[in-house]
Symmetry: C2
Subunit: 392 residues, 2 copies
């Protein structure tokens, strides 16, 4: 079959707040081919990714993403990786390309799963989708008291694990950070799994991050996430030594599989966190699930948006028994929750699984698309290169 | 002073060909502050970079580039690095940001140079701008005969060094590549400096690239450039061993200084090639000039566009005596040549230098801006976020 159309829908909350909450807008991708439809989501600046889809060619390695997908043949799974390579060859000087492609790759897997009547995880070669323990992923409160309350709320909602991140952590004094981590521990309870996310706030300042090592150990933190920018190899290694047995986590910013492999090889990580909406989709993420397993590093999904993105992010490691923990957006904005008609709910044990249904197993809500849709028009020399497509 | 405006001008040739020639379009940046004006150029997909400048905020780390520059204070050189850090904090989840920022950073240096009446290389701490030996940078011909002729033309134009790249090199048979390299050697002459650029065509296939090692040695090639995608560390190391004494060159795709440092540390490079239009501007490039010197790796500019970009790319290593060689666009499209009223011409010795004039020392041609300007309009929900600004 031929890929007939690739439509990008930019959704947004009426107001986007200046906080580290990635569920406030979304770029949703719809691919149509041979009477089938697949959906994906890019974790990226929607308008920038739309522009990368339609931008006029600059030269042979800087073509719009559309050049590598619309009208192309999609008959079997090998075509998905073939198109990914084609996109790289056509667009490797277009920096935004990897983020845009990520949503398209997801949609191609979803479409092929629906065509073949199989869940994506089975197409990836897994025989089962093992349940994972979701952690409630929340932002630090502005005060330790708010953080404590967030932890209690997560606990009351049945979460045995919670991650606190971003906010002012790493931006203020050591004592403020200590108070925040202690409040988080108190909130989630002594037996809860506690994860702390600095959101790269230490930049490349190893000393500042190392000052936080004692409280991480004292509070029995399971991982200390994104202390630094992803490329600060040496700083990660120094901090990993100071923090042991607390492990480091990172990798969500990787926009190709190589970057995640380099972090596994050179950053002394205990956990590699992959956002399928950035690394090139399910195809790129699966490469890292395999590689992490071979290196004894635990693979975890990074997901702070919709359940469509959550399903896509669970697929690459769904069939691995070992990585038990998974990120679960706990306080998403209405847009991110409303985007799908069905949701990945916790089972009686409080665990989640990738859906046992064709493709990604999620039904995108047309009502939500209409409600949150942003009306975009891009013109060059009077020619409309992009206009928000119709939902139907 | 306050940064009053940052204007982006998208220029293009009437027709953009599907060849590896980056001089066919340009995104030119004009920054105004305190009665001064600075100019820069982004090496990127112009429309995508424009979108990244104005895209609505997605969350606290995914803001438009404009948020980190318009209205900001610019009093001294430290403000340039401060704004670069601010941009990173504000936009590290916006992948295109580094390319867009590169042109802005150049323009900020140009502006400060004009304000302080000093060339940028002096502001970078250098006391002299040493002459460099330019190599003619050309694409492989479609046939060895065409390549031979291109080499002769470069020689006849007084170039003692030439680089042949892209085209079909690495995409066809071993014999075809051997014939191309031999033709290039014949064209530039036995005593010419010959450089070969595979344009990442070997992907991550080390074996295929290693098959080309004998002809590189036989033809006394000085460097074998971009054999692989930039992140293929192990493949670079394997090829470097097979090619010695021919050295590897690479790094032009680095979109932050870390990536270039990693290539220096892990890819066994002899030459690190930096495009100031991608790595975060002159600020990022200077970091690598310093780092490369400390690691015994030779820094070379990557420039395939205008003489504005050429000046920006020469500044970061202008004051280093050692790296003698520099890329010089030999067959640029009219747009890239016309963009500046003055040009960096070869002196009596056939060498070039960063201009000894305030800022980048280049005068942008308003006539060229008008001639090649593309008319762009981006609207979201009826609001115009970007419209091509007036040239005056």
């Amino acid at each position: 079959m031929k890929i007939e159309s690739v439509d990008l829908f930019y959704l947004s909350m009426p107001e986007v707040l200046d906080i580290g909450d990635g569920s406030q807008d979304a770029l949703v991708v719809r691919v149509r081919a041979g009477g089938h439809e697949g959906w994906g989501e890019c974790e990226a600046s929607p308008l920038t990714s739309i522009a990368s889809m339609v931008a006029p060619m600059s030269h042979s390695a800087c073509k719009p993403i559309s050049a590598s997908v619309i009208g192309q043949t999609l008959n079997d799974l090998k075509d998905i990786s073939r198109l990914g390579r084609l996109m790289h060859d056509n667009s490797f000087d277009l920096l935004q390309a990897d983020h845009t492609w990520s949503g398209i790759d997801m949609a191609l897997w979803d479409l092929m799963g629906k065509k073949l009547d199989e869940p994506v995880w089975r197409l990836l070669g897994y025989s089962s989708a093992y349940p994972k323990m979701p952690y409630a992923s929340v932002l630090f409160g502005d005060t330790p008291q708010q953080t404590l309350q967030k932890g209690r709320t997560a606990r009351e909602n049945g979460f045995r694990a919670a991650k606190f991140g971003w906010g002012n952590f790493g931006k203020g004094s050591l004592q403020e950070d200590v108070d925040q981590v202690m409040a988080a521990r108190e909130g989630i309870g002594a037996d809860g799994i506690l994860l702390i996310d600095a959101g790269t706030n230490f930049g490349d300042d190893a000393d500042a991050a190392i000052q936080r090592a004692p409280v991480m150990k004292d509070c029995n933190v399971t991982w200390f996430e994104e202390p630094f920018v992803k490329d600060a190899f040496e700083q990660h290694v120094a901090l990993a030594k100071a923090c042991a047995p607390v492990k480091l986590a990172g990798g969500e910013g990787s926009h190709n599989p190589y970057m995640a492999k380099h972090m596994i090889d050179h950053c002394a990580l205990g956990f590699i966190q992959i956002d399928a909406g950035r690394i090139g989709g399910i195809s790129g993420a699966k490469q890292i699930a395999d590689y992490a397993a071979s290196r004894g590093v635990t693979y975890v999904n990074h997901t702070f948006t919709s359940h469509l993105a959550l399903s896509a992010s669970l697929q690459p490691f769904a069939g691995l028994r070992e990585p038990r923990i998974s990120e679960y957006p706990f306080e998403p904005k209405a847009l991110a929750y409303d985007l799908t008609e069905n949701h990945i709910e916790r089972d009686a044990n409080g665990e989640i699984s990738a859906p046992d249904a064709p493709g990604l197993g999620m039904t995108v809500s047309k009502a939500a698309l209409k409600q949150y849709l942003q009306d975009v028009e891009i013109k060059v020399n009077g020619q409309v290169l992009y206009r928000t497509p119709a939902v139907d």
